[in-house]
């Protein structure tokens, strides 16, 4: 088993880190465009018994 999975990460986390770093390593003219893909507005709430689990 890979070290990252043993540490509680999944491939999605792995992929996210790799994609973010690739975007940072692009030439400046592509970097600005790529940085737009870094943003994510989504908010996720857990629900239990028909109610959102308040933080």
């Amino acid at each position: 088993m890979s070290a990252w999975r043993a540490a509680g990460l999944n491939y999605i986390n792995y992929s996210n880190i790799a994609a973010r770093l690739l975007r940072q390593a692009l030439k400046p003219e592509f970097r600005a465009e790529a940085a737009k893909r870094d943003v994510s507005a989504i908010k996720i709430n857990k629900w239990v018994d028909g109610k959102p689990l308040s933080k």
Binding site: N10, R37, D38, V39, S40, P52
Partner: protein
């Protein structure tokens, strides 16, 4: 008794000539007020249409870029002929909608499909609501079946990051499911979309697939990572399809609303002019009859 008398008053008032004149004047004003508000509404719907037209063209462009991802991610499921495992009846439904309304029936049709599934069996089904709209529709009856609700969707075009955050949350939700479905609206053309489902499978389902041995040198970790990434790709693809359907549907809805407002404006202008004419005529008659009475 009093109530009946109260009912009579407006009838009497309407029949009185003096009241009628005042009512006519008031109508003229109320018509012009209504006319103004309908014109304002038309302006709003028209600008919303323009905005969603711009958003739609971008969403469609991006959708074309995403389609290979969606078809690529489903290919393995289809070709390996994976079916839902018998011994794991737990299912997961992922509703892809957004936070925003005024776009026809896109959100309700997704929610309806899920509600039908829940009506049939609400024991082994859990729902992930993406977008406030599906959550609002489902929470009253099936709030207990919701395990995750995501919002802040629809303002910006969906990104892969959104999809992977959602996938991460699903994977870490500790709900073990045998199979699942992503319910979304597939974009057909500007005027049509279809509510579709994409299959999702768990590691257990894939491992028992009859055609899996055809695939060479697999270990569980590879399949698990593969499935995790596939789920993110599928959600990303479904979000793109959903966003495109939503914008196109909003565009059509707003176009219709502008047209309806236009018709109302025409009718109201006609009534307004007629009423104004009637008022002028009546005033003239009053003056003339007043003069001839002297």
């Amino acid at each position: 008794m009093l109530g009946r008398f109260g009912n009579l008053v407006p009838v009497v008032a309407q029949n009185a000539p003096l009241q009628q004149q005042q009512r006519g004047m008031a109508t003229l004003k109320s018509i012009s007020m209504r006319l103004k508000s309908v014109k304002n509404i038309q302006k709003i719907t028209q600008s919303m249409k323009m905005v969603s037209a711009a958003k739609y063209s971008r969403a469609e462009r991006e959708l074309k870029q995403t389609r290979p991802i969606g078809s690529g991610a489903t290919q393995f499921y289809e070709k390996a002929e994976i079916v839902a495992p018998q011994d794991m009846p737990q299912k997961l439904l992922i509703a892809i909608t957004s936070d925003r309304g005024l776009c026809g029936a896109v959100h309700t049709s997704v929610a309806r499909l899920i509600r039908n599934e829940l009506n049939a069996d609400n024991q082994n089904l859990k729902v992930v609501c993406v977008g406030d709209k599906s959550r609002l529709i489902l929470q009253r009856l099936y709030g207990k079946n919701i395990i995750l609700a995501a919002n802040e969707i629809g303002r910006l075009p969906p990104s892969f990051n959104d999809a992977s955050k959602l996938t991460d949350a699903i994977l870490k939700s500790e709900y073990s499911f045998g199979s699942g479905q992503i319910v979304y609206n597939q974009f057909k053309s500007v005027v049509s979309y279809r509510t579709q489902t994409l299959p999702v499978f768990s590691l257990a389902a894939v491992k028992t697939a009859p055609k899996l041995p055809v695939y060479d040198s697999l270990d569980d970790e590879v399949i698990q990572s593969y499935l995790e990434f596939s789920l993110a790709s599928l959600i990303y693809y479904a979000m793109k399809e959903g966003a495109c359907s939503e914008q196109s549907s909003r565009m059509t809805a707003m176009d219709n609303a502008s047209k309806n407002a236009g018709e109302m404006i025409d009718k109201l202008t006609l009534t307004f002019n007629r009423t104004r004419q009637a008022v002028i005529t009546r005033e003239l008659i009053e003056i003339i009859s007043g003069a001839s009475a002297l």
